[in-house]
Structure formats: structure tokens, C-alpha cells
Amino acid sequence: MKIHEYQAKELLEKYGLPTPKSVVTSDPVKVKNSMSELGTAVVIKAQVHVGGRGKAGGVKIAKTPDEAFKAAQEILGMNIKGITVKKVLVAEAVDIKQELYIGITVDRSSKKIVFMASRAGGVDIEEVAANTPEKIEKIYIDPALGFKGYQARQLAFSLFDDSKLIKSSISIFTKLYNVFIDNDCSIAEINPLVITNNNELVAIDSKINFDDNALLKHPGFEELRDMDEEDADELHAKASGLSFIKLDGDIGCIVNGAGLAMATLDTIKLFNGNPANFLDVGGSSNPEKIIDAFNLILKDKKIKVVLINIFGGITRCDDIANGLLIAKDRINIPVPIIIRLTGTNSEEAHKILKAENISVYTNMDEAIKKAVAVSHEGEISQ
């Protein structure tokens, strides 16, 4: 789960990390007035989750209240990669001697927490990571031991030459590590962490993502979710226990299991078809899920055919068949349905559907070939 920069900043401040003074608002007048408390120059930043907002014009510096007002007016309402800017963060401008990067995430292959630090902080950190990975110091933290003092020192020596900074940075690393652990983050990074002309360290921008799996442990985080940033259909799917991603083809897909769902999309493409979505109904037999699934994918008017591909394990095929009958009864399905059912209780399922004159495939390749053929039918007659 992603949160906004200003929300991440509040979290860092709660842990005592040094950040610039700031206000959050959606009112340009407040931006103008904020200069009296924030200082002689301010940075006005669009609050959106997508990256690259600076390059899109979503970050501006202002040196007078009028400039600040004008900049806020320009940024608020701006569209950045499909998202409308509703709030800006106005922060005191900090003089920057050097920009650094520090960040924490989980390394999947070593199954450890990795703490990264680099002298090459700033907007191009991803390029640094890709092209000159040796410029990023990495410390792997053994979960059985936690973050050790020598590891913090190793990070400090990799970032600084100045002994005062080496000392003061230790507490910054420790605090950021605590933010990461206490809040079940998947990413906690400060970029840039700057050295000011007075040799102070300040966290100018930060990014915090929470582990979706851990949200149950932190019910309060839901309040931080910005619904405008989320895909409404994908959220709706999640609430119904479905995993859904919109694609741009014309074959609607309902599959059980993420791996099989991906393989279904791949095979559709292999046979020259175009999947309209990824949809995993998961390992349940609830007929309501099938109805929800149909409602979701039929919203897309490009759909020419729906392919149901179920390999019953936990999921029972007869439940899927019954769910399909209820769905057909309750909602209008204006396109042909190709059904493939195999696995647990598939014989019963085939009987149920045969009685309703619905034909069922048992082989995945055959069902997909048929669905692709149906999706191309209109094109031939045109």
C-alpha cells in the first residue's frame, strides 16, 4: 500500500527524524500565507503517488507569497499521469550541500532486510542502482539478530567523511529501521537525505509503502489510503475476494489460481488472442464470487467472449457450475461463454451444465483456441 509524501513525513517525524517545516493544503491562499512561518523560500510539491512528478512540473520553488500562490494554483488540479493533484506539500526550502540516499526493503533471495545507502542521492537513484550498483552500500540484516551498531557505522562511513555527520547519522539509520519494522513497511526510504550548508542532515523527501499482507495488523493504515489513487475496479475486486487487473484485449477471463490465470493469458496470446483482464477467483466455491467476477469483466464493453478456466483443487467444479447458472439467471451476459472445468467434482459439474445445454471443455488448450476463434469471429464477417 502506498501513502503520500506528507503522510510518510508525518510518520518520520513521529520517530524523531529531522524534516523541514511544512504545511499540507489544497488551498492556494493557505500556501501564500504559509510563507510567513516557513521562511523566505518554499518548495511546493504535488501530492500524488506516481513517480516523476518533478519532471511533470509538479514541484516548484517560490520566493515570495505571490509566487507561492501562483505556483500552488498551477499545481493544484494538474493532471500527472492520469491523477489529478488535490493537495500540495509546502515546505521550507533547505540549502543543499549534498544529496544522499538511504532506504530499507526486504531482499527476497536472501530473505533478509537490506539497508541501502548511497552518496549519489536524488532523482536519478534508480539509474545509479542500474548502472553503477557499486555506488550503493548494502547491509543485510539478519532477522534473528536485528540491526547492529557496527552495521549502522558501516553505513555511516560509506556516506560521510565528516566525523560529526558520521556520529549524527547513526540515530537516523536506527530511527528509519524502527519505522520500517514497527509499521511492517515494504519500502522505507529517504531520498534525498541532504547535508545542509550548516552540516545538518535533513530528510527532504521520503517514500513509505506498507506490506499489504500486514494491513490486518495495522487497522489504522486504511485511513491513510487515498481512494483517488486506486483503481476502483481493482479495489472492488479485492473487497469481493478476487484479484483483478484490467488489460486491453477482448477475451474476458475468469480463472482460479494466480499461476493458472497468468498461464491462461499467456496461452491466449500464444494462440493470437487478446486477454481483457487477469482475474483470479481464488480457492473458494462461493457462487457470489462468480457473479462478482462477471459483473466486473462485463463492465468492459470491448469484451467479445468470456473464458472460464477452472482446475478444481480446493475449488469444487460443481459449485462453479451452480454459480454460473445463478449468474446467468441474475445478470445479462451478452457474449458467448467458453467453459473449461476439470479437477475436483468435475463430472458432477459437467452433468449440471449439460442439463442446461451448456457445453464444457476439459482441455485447457482446446477451450482457449475456441475462445480465441470466437473473439475473431466478428472481424471475419466485417
Binding site: S243, G259, L265, D266
Partner: protein
Amino acid sequence: MSILIDNNTKLIVQGITGRDGSFHTKAMLEYGTNVVAGVTPGKGGQSVHGIKVFNTVKDAVKETEANCSIIYVPLLFAADAIYEAIDAGIKLIICIAEGIPVLDMVEVTRYAEINNVRLIGGNCPGIISPGKCKVGIMPGKIHKQGSIGVVSRSGTLTYEVVQSITSAGYGQSTVLGIGGDAISGTGFIDILELFESDPETEAVAIIGEIGGDAEEQAGLFVKNKMTKPVFGFIAGKSAPPGKRMGHAGAIISSGKGTAESKITAWEEAGIKVLDRPDVFGEEISKYFKYNK
């Protein structure tokens, strides 16, 4: 032979009184698995499908000498159930639950490693050594005893591949899913190593998917250490970057973890990479016709 589980497996079901636990205990018993005990805190003394329920794993192990545990407890208690099984001396633990918090998994996998425990999952379908023992949720019927080892990150996609192999007249030595979450207890390499040294396994089918670099690492292992033929499939060629395709692991980020990178790595390792799951049986039978 087979790997990990066989006729000597004595299984505990943690969460046996729950809906899934009870349902799958029945299915495992019907398959012939030696389920020796169940555990549900507070329900000790009851029985489920004739299997005695204990309050703690420790009590269950003491009385039954169980050597394997499968965990069906609700998500938020899953990590704790794994710790309990580890501390009770169980050396093979299978966790079905999907979506355990990542930092909990980081800690629990490390604890398993320190205690020399093999943890399979979470978010996995379990293990089956056809004809001998089933510890999981997979449909037993589609499997057949034989010589192909199957390892995968997925559940239903594994069934698809197994069915393809069985339809072609071949059987499986052991089939297991290592799990689709970002962090799982056991990786591809551990399993490939076991298949390589298992005399019953003659060939291996490996099913990977986008995200992470476990497939690339597995490719290196196959290239350097394996003598048996390996057939592979990578799911997620058509996945858009930055989107999580159901499995927490299945996400392409900053150009890494793509299907192309994995397929290339596997081809370089000499793995026969197939373009779809339904052709495993056909390709394996071609191989055995020309090489035997």
C-alpha cells in the same frame, strides 16, 4: 523413493477442527496419508474423522512421534503455528496459508533455518508423493506414481502440468508447490537438489513465474549441478510491469523479474522451456522415446 514425504510420514494437522483443516484431513486420510494427530488449542480430547485432537503440538508429538506438520490455521495465527511446530521438534512443516506478513515470514524462515527445519510455503498447495502420501490440498486423483519430479510456485498451474504428464502416460515421484508469496520457506534450488539425488526421479518439471530472481538462480543450479533432464514453463509473459498478478511474488519491477530474462536463463542452462502448460506430457514422452 520420492522426496520429503513417503510411507514413513507421520502427519499432524494444525487447525484440524477448522473448515479447511477438517475437509482436507478427510481427503488426506482417503489418499492413504498417515495422519496421526490434530492440534487445535482448547479442543484437546476431541476427535476429527477419528483423529485425536491435542491442545499443543508438543503434546501431539510426545504421544504420536509425528515427523511432519501441515498448517491450516487462520492467517494471523499461521506464523505462530509454525514457531510452535519448530519448537516441538517437527522437521518438515507445510504452510498452506496465503499472505502471511512479509516481515513475519523473514523471521520465521530464519528460525526454521537455524533449527534445521524444512518449511514449505506459505501460499502453497503442499506436497504429494503419488501412491504413498499426500500432505496438502491438491486433488489426489490427477496424480500417478512415476518418475517425474514436479516443482512449482503455483497451485492450480501445477495441477495443469501434472494432468498433462499423467495423460501422456507418465507418473510423478513427488509434486510440490514452494509457494507464491514474496518470501517462502524452501526455494527451487533445495528441491532440485533433492530431485537430483532421488533415484526414483528421472526427469524434472519446473514451473516458474515472473518476479524476483528465483528462476534465474534455479537455472544456474541446473546448469552447474544437475544431470537429469529438466522441462520448464514460466507464467506471466503477458503481465504488465508494476502490477501484482495475484501472487505477491509475481510482479515485474524496474525491468527486473521479466519472463524473458527467466526464459533466457533457463534456455542457457539447458532446460527445455515450453510455451504452455498443456504440452509437458507430450514433450516428456518425446524425450523418453528418443533417449531410451
